[in-house]
Amino acid sequence: MSKGSGKDGDRDERDDDDHGGGGDGHAAVDDPLFYWNTTPVEGSPDTPGKVRPDKEFEMNFFNRDLEMPDGRDVEFWGFEDKLIDSDEDVIRPSSLIRVSEGDIVHVTLKPSKRQHTIHLHGIEIDSHNDGVGHTSFEVTGSYTYQFHAGAPFRALDDPRPKTRGAGTYIYHCHVNTVLHFHMGMWGGLIVDPATGPGTAFHNGPDYDDERFWFIGDVDPTWRELGHAAGMKGGDAGLNVFRPIYFDITGVFQPMRSGRTDPNAVIEDPRITATAPVDGVPTLVRLGNSGYGPQEITFHGIADGSLDVEVIASDGRAFDNQAPNYAQPFLLPPGPFVVGTAERYDLLLKPRRRGTSLVTIEQKDWISGKVHGVLQTTVTGV
């Protein structure tokens, strides 16, 4: 590992540097403390205590263009799992990491030209594998992140709740996170109980069908910025976020005259959910991968056609293990607010046949104004 300080303002995989790189004449910062965080260690160290894995992933960096609903091509960065044999390019979101409780998991990062990391968001792990530059290192060549999925939490004699950790997580790059996360360097991370998919968590409810609803937003102006924009001083404009494109797990809300069309409905079968009336419910893994609060409204709750039960959040089951500790609850009518990087696991339980709308409003983190509206459906069959 070496101390790196020679980052330039390049865009990842590109050499032009017209934004965000050099300082623009702010007062010089000569405080040595200032540099504690700005020169993270870089390198390709060995994984400490590396053992044979039960599951392996090899995440390579990519940057690809994707056509937006208004016809414009927009650049995305992300992780593509090279161990999956597929002809189809991964764009948004990045490849899924799906493991079971008890697995030893290896996620090898090959960041290509520039520094990246993988932070396993919600996985409780030692600093060396946490993927944070300023408390560990940034990866240049390659590094294998190792973790033990679903390890029993807390000692047996500890009275606080225990978990095996099945649930919904995300992983993402933690280098210049403000930009890299937004560029698309995140993906889903699902931990199933030891029995595998089909059960939400140990002793938890079963599901037949499942949907990933990671709600995202895209500000195309940030695409003009380089890899290290905003890391060297100077104003890269990364405090101003004005998204215009919105998606549920890579499927974008249709647009009309430069804005999302609030009356349009995403009808892609990968997103729309169906669930049987009085049958095994459908699990929705809901996550906020945007930069601002999101209000989700299941209109079927208000008209009595749908029950939505919240059974877990942030990879922690609501299993009532300790006094006052979380139990599953039904969503009341009206909007349910999900903050950035939060996840909720929802069971869809239709009370009668028919389709109801789900509306998601992506709000500004300060003014509360609605940047865009997404819609999809839940159908009882």
Partner: protein, 555 residues
């Protein structure tokens, strides 16, 4: 020197009351009850005034000494038993001082010669014989004077105690202790390990009476140590609404409103603390805070739903008094212009601990599961310097426009940013350090206008209280949704991260750290806001925004 002045005046008041109280008692004893010294009314009065005046200095020393001892014992006048402790120690200190002084009294009398009104007449046989069988004034020499001193000092003990007790009872009992938030780069005056000694093993010394709270956290133990290092007991606080320039992490100067404070040994009345000091009290106490507005326009002192001072004119001081609200975390400050005055710096946090003095966020929480060892306050804010400049120029700021136009360029945690906020040396009140298993209660507060998503690496946290109300159900989160004005009291369990791969699995935090140190890493994880724009400063400079670190230490 406001606070010293305040403190000093209280000591002087007590000393004067004590001096004249005791000398009056002595005069009565000597003139009527014991020896029966006789004199004119004027003579008695003169004698009283003289002895009282002479006694002020020793009484003052006794007051400071007594308060110091009471403070040393960690007796913070919490329960009903402890209110007597301070007067008792003062009386005892005065007793020690009086033994030689009464002997001196005879010398003074003799030196002044028998002239009226200052001289006593020759002592006549009187009731004094009933007490010790002899008129001790007749005695001379060391033994005689000491015997006299011992007798009179003993007789003074109850009256000194009663005077002290009366003063203590009369004083409004305010249990607000200031924890000054260190908001500039200052070296910590104690190492974290020293703080923790008070949080852990050293707590025994502090948990007498109501001292349990003082042991609650490193920071608070630090404040307690400050209070105990000098013979003051903090029982009231003066706040000052001030203004000045804060330097952002990229060197840009920004005008800000904020707070000075004076409390106990702390005199920072001219300072600019943003946020203001953390105030803390118990659920069954009455709180009194003096607030002086040193700004150019009227401001309120308000705790939403609890108290509102109404407008405080520039230069005015008001006293705000209220019963402590239900246990939890509250924002104090100026809420009179929407979020504007709060976000521009007039904010701070009030902590209310359960009346039973337990180490819980709320009395409804089961103590076996939800007790904590240390507690911390993390105050999130954001700064758009354009509005600060407007305030500097004295221009009005419309709260609606403020919300619409607010484009923050700096994001602060307890007033600090980025690497400054993430190191123990520069941020001893936000950087959390403790050993494995010591649950930390972290009160996360949003005083700004941006919605934040505090995200914890390393451990999930239990969300115990939201806006001073117990949550039901208690969720176990790695990311919180913290909207403007929200206060979330979460517990960080300080568990060995269970998903780390170690063979054999570590049996203790020390085991875990030993294995981790083999990789040249520390057991250190960030907390940062996941609405990542908040990780920038001046539009760039990732990661110099709203973040800090927590560390598992090997003590």
């Amino acid at each position: 020197m406001i606070s010293a002045h305040h403190r000093e005046r209280r000591n002087l008041d007590s000393a004067v009351a004590l001096a004249f109280g005791v000398s009056l008692w002595q005069l009565w004893l000597h003139s009527f009850a014991l020896e029966g010294h006789s004199s004119s009314v004027l003579g008695h009065l003169g004698h009283w005034l003289r002895d009282g005046s002479l006694l002020i200095v020793p009484a003052y020393l006794a007051v400071r000494c007594g308060r110091w001892i009471a403070g040393r014992l960690g007796d913070r006048r919490g329960g009903s038993g402890s209110i007597a402790a301070e007067p008792a120690w003062i009386a005892l200190a005065l007793f020690v001082a009086l033994v030689p002084l009464v002997g001196l009294h005879g010398v003074v009398d003799r030196a002044l010669g028998g002239g009226d009104p200052f001289a006593e007449l020759a002592p006549a046989p009187g009731a004094g014989y009933l007490l010790l069988g002899t008129d001790v004034h007749q005695a001379s020499g060391l033994v005689g004077n000491l015997t006299h001193g011992l007798r009179d000092a003993l007789l003074s003990l109850p009256i000194a105690f009663m005077v002290g007790l009366a003063a203590a009872l009369l004083r409004t009992r305010v249990e607000v202790v200031a924890t000054p938030v260190v908001d500039d780069i200052v070296p910590a005056s104690m190492s974290k390990r020293e703080f923790l000694k008070f949080g852990g093993a050293g707590a025994a010394a502090l948990t007498l009476g109501s001292g349990g709270l003082l042991a609650a956290s490193g920071r608070q133990a630090h404040a307690a140590e400050q209070a105990r290092a000098t013979p003051w007991l903090t029982d009231d606080i003066e706040l000052f609404m001030n203004d000045g320039i804060k330097t952002m992490i990229d060197g840009v100067p920004v005008y800000s409103w904020g707070w000075g404070l004076a409390s106990g040994p702390v005199d920072e009345s001219d300072a600019l603390h943003v946020p203001g000091p953390v105030l803390w009290t118990y659920g069954d106490e009455r709180v009194r805070v003096g607030v002086t507005n040193n700004l150019a326009e009227p401001h309120h002192f308000e705790i939403e739903g609890v108290v509102d001072s109404g407008p405080i004119a520039p230069g005015d001081r008001v006293e705000v008094e209220f019963d402590a609200p239900s246990p939890g975390t509250y924002i104090y400050g100026d809420g009179s212009n929407g979020p504007v005055n709060r976000a521009l710096g007039l904010h701070g946090v009030l902590i209310v601990m359960p009346a039973d003095r337990s180490m819980r966020a709320h009395p409804s929480l089961d103590p076996e599961h939800w007790s904590f060892v240390t507690q911390w306050v993390w105050i999130c804010n954001s700064i758009d310097p354009r509005f600060n400049a407007r305030a500097h120029a004295g221009l009005p700021i419309d709260p609606v426009r403020f919300l619409e136009d607010f484009t923050p360029r700096y994001f602060t945690l307890n007033g600090r940013m980025g690497s400054i906020a993430a190191h123990e040396e520069t941020a001893p009140d936000t950087f959390v350090g403790d050993v494995e298993g010591n649950a930390a209660l972290i009160r996360v507060v949003n005083v700004g206008v941006a919605t934040h998503s505090p995200h914890y690496h390393g451990n999930h946290v239990y969300l115990l209280l939201k806006n001073a109300a117990p949550t039901s159900p208690i969720m176990w989160k790695d990311t919180l949704l913290l909207e403007p004005g929200d206060r979330m009291d979460v517990m960080l369990p300080y568990a060995i991260p269970p998903n780390a791969v170690h063979f054999p699995p570590p049996q203790s935090g020390r085991d875990f750290l030993k294995q981790l140190h083999g990789t040249e890493m520390e057991g250190k994880w960030p907390m940062h806001c996941h609405v990542e724009m908040s990780q920038t400063a001046g539009g760039g400079l990732y990661p110099q925004g709203l973040l800090t670190d927590w560390q598992m230490e090997d003590l």
